[in-house]
């Protein structure tokens, strides 16, 4: 043990063991009556212990679908994973049996959802629902599981946990309900926690409390946190790295500081300039023009090109880098930064 590790987390973090979760070239599509919807088109990312990766994107960019694919909770059909690997602690979850996948959910990877009220079963007490984790995965008795549920409710700072363990979800406030969800998700000390818009349904002060709680729990346990959100403020505050998604692809990836201070993709740039600025009070917000793409008919070439202010589709396009025809790969632009744009260097200004 090195004495220099004063700032290292106190939990069971094993530094240097590499990424815990590795998503590689994931493809998901939905067969619907109106045709094939390509929701996720080659998404790759890694999450290490103690890392917070934010996945940023607007509705329909494929961020939730990719998370549900990792969890193995997509409804198949209509969904279909058509390619890629999901490596968790060195095993490819997609090649494992449903029963083995199930055993990973909870102790390995767990997930919290946006709307805690509809995500909790209305007819069971919160204590019962938290305790189910211990009963299903560890064969614990109902009574012991309830005792553990009280401990967990304490841990996520629900006041008077022992009195409230038998209450039902509708008897809690929105913030407390999300804490119940968190208690359930961290019950078995997962290595990875996926939080799908965990604070979107909450008001701003409660949002901050829930995010603080997640960060504290992460510090204690060393779990990797995948934060799915469209809230740039939350990303800026809590995430280490960010992956920006558009039309089922990652269009930019890097550390939060880098990406926020100097985007390498025109879409990220558009997102940044749509943030209200305190200094620019009274000025107009800069929206990104056009509509998000229809995933049943994604534009050719770069999916963002119809909305892109910097597209090159005519004679000014370089050979093999025609925005309406050539799909830009996600490539290393500068050290530590990847972007899927033919002209990232210009966007970056390097």
């Amino acid at each position: 043990m090195s004495t220099a590790s004063t700032s290292a987390p106190s939990g069971p973090v094993r530094p240097g063991t590499g990424p815990v979760l590795e998503v590689d070239d994931l493809h998901v599509q939905f067969r619907t009556e109106s045709g094939l919807v390509r929701a996720v088109n080659g998404v790759s990312y890694t999450v290490s212990a103690g890392e917070t990766l934010a996945i940023l994107g607007e509705s329909g960019s494929g961020k939730s679908v990719s998370a549900q694919a990792i969890m193995g909770i997509l409804d198949m059909p209509p969904a279909e994973i058509t390619g890629g690997r999901i490596m968790f602690e060195g095993r490819d979850l997609l090649t494992e049996s449903p029963e083995e996948q199930r055993k990973v959910r909870g102790p390995g990877i767990s997930m919290i959802f946006q709307d805690a009220l509809s995500s909790l079963n209305p007819v069971y007490s919160v204590g019962f629902q938290i305790g189910e984790m211990f009963r299903a995965h560890q064969g614990m008795s109902r009574k012991d599981a309830k005792k553990r549920a009280v401990e967990l409710m304490d841990r996520v700072r629900i006041p008077a946990a022992a009195q409230r363990v038998n209450d039902f979800p509708h008897q809690f406030s929105g913030g407390m309900r999300q804490r119940v969800m968190i208690a359930m998700a961290i019950a078995l000390d997962p290595r990875i926690l996926i939080a799908d818009e965990p604070t979107t349904a909450l008001d701003v002060t409660v949002q901050a409390q829930v995010m603080d709680l997640l960060k504290d729990l992460q510090r204690d346990t060393g779990m990797g946190l995948v934060l799915i959100t469209h809230d740039l403020g939350v990303v800026n505050e809590v995430a280490d790295n960010v992956a920006v998604m558009y039309a089922g692809r990652i269009v930019e990836r890097g550390t939060v500081d880098d990406v926020f201070s100097n985007p390498a993709h025109p879409y990220t740039e558009g997102l940044m300039s749509s943030i209200p600025q305190v200094e620019a009070k009274g000025g107009r917000l800069q929206p990104i023009g056009g509509q998000p793409p229809n995933l049943a008919s994604i534009p050719s070439g770069c999916p963002f090109h119809p909305r892109c202010p910097k597209r090159r589709t005519g004679a000014d396009a370089l050979p093999g880098r025609h925005c309406a025809e050539d799909v830009p790969p996600l490539r290393l632009v500068v050290p530590g930064r990847e972007a899927a744009c033919h002209y990232s260097e210009e966007v970056l200004g390097v």
């Binding site: 959910r105 079963n121 007819v123 984790m133």
Partner: protein, 307 residues
């Protein structure tokens, strides 16, 4: 909850009074002469007519007749029919038959309806699902009268599996009429269960249950079935009240001496006291089981509280 039940029970009193008056008025408004109906083709002496008319207040206005009926009712006397048999005895004789028929029907309705609905709901668009959809549509669209005769003809006469009429074979003689009586509700229960399950399978909390890594069986039974059956159980509860009163056709076709057939005969014979007594009882059953359902709802769904 106790106060809520007490208040609801108190509320049944004015409802029963109103219902009994309406029934009374309808019997009063029936055309024809009940004494002539009783005598049939034989001549009746004017003296007999006079005595009967006075005893049953037949020449009095409606409200006087109803008042006489209520006065007797308060002392526990439901009145007598024209032959002098107390209505209470008639009910005691016929009610057990109807209760047995209702129990058999509800058991069929619940077991077959729920099992079919669950299997169809879990495997939507499967062969079984389509079978349930088609067969329930067929059953619902055939009038119960036709269904009853069909059942008698095919299952009773041709195949000889069940007795056709009467109650000689004990509980077994209730199987065929019970099935016929339950058929409509059974189809409805199957469809309700199917829809409810299909809807619940898409619920966010079922997704959560999967994300928790619960075994598939737990996800289905604990997090899908339990929630899906709330509307089904409450429908069946309310249906008991309806079945207890709705057995008129079935009891008549299968010649079961229950309150349904009794009231059918009483209407034809213009036996006012019998009709009012039995139909008011049916109304009471209906109200009572609706109350049971409301209480049951609060037990099954913790979001519902009556305080």
């Amino acid at each position: 909850m106790g106060r809520y039940v007490a208040r609801r029970l108190l509320l049944t009193i004015p409802v029963l009074l109103g219902a009994s008056f309406l029934i009374f008025a309808m019997v009063y408004a029936l055309p024809g002469d009940p004494i002539r109906a009783l005598a049939g083709d034989r001549p009746v002496s004017p003296a007999v007519v006079k005595v009967l008319t006075e005893r049953f207040h037949l020449s009095d206005p409606l409200w006087v007749q109803y008042w006489e009926y209520l006065k007797a009712l308060l002392s526990g006397d439901l009145g007598t029919d024209f032959r002098g048999r107390p209505v209470l005895d008639t009910i005691e004789r016929t009610l057990p038959v109807t209760v047995k028929l209702t129990i058999v029907a509800v058991v069929f309705e619940a077991i077959i309806g729920i099992v079919a609905g669950v299997l169809a709901g879990i495997r939507r668009n499967s062969f079984f699902d389509n079978l349930v959809l088609v067969s329930t549509t067929v059953i619902v669209s055939i009038p119960i009268l036709v269904l009853a005769f069909l059942a008698q003809l095919v299952l009773g006469l041709k195949l000889g599996w069940f007795p056709i009429a009467g109650t000689r074979d004990g509980l077994y003689s209730y199987v065929l009429p019970g099935l016929v009586l339950a058929s409509g509700s059974l189809a409805y229960v199957a469809r309700l269960t199917r829809t409810s399950i299909a809807e619940n399978m898409r619920a966010d909390y079922v997704r959560t249950a999967r994300a928790k890594g619960l075994p598939n069986r737990t996800v289905i039974v604990r997090h899908t079935l339990r929630n899906s059956l709330i509307p089904v159980v409450t429908f069946i509860g309310a249906d008991i009240g309806a079945l207890l009163g709705g057995a008129i056709v079935t009891e008549t076709v299968f010649n079961l001496p229950g309150i349904g057939r009794e009231v059918f005969d009483a209407v034809r014979a213009q036996e006012g006291a019998v009709v009012v007594g039995i139909v008011t009882l049916m109304v009471f059953f209906f109200i009572f089981f609706n109350l049971v359902v409301d209480v049951l709802y609060a037990v099954l769904d913790p979001r519902i509280r009556y305080d």
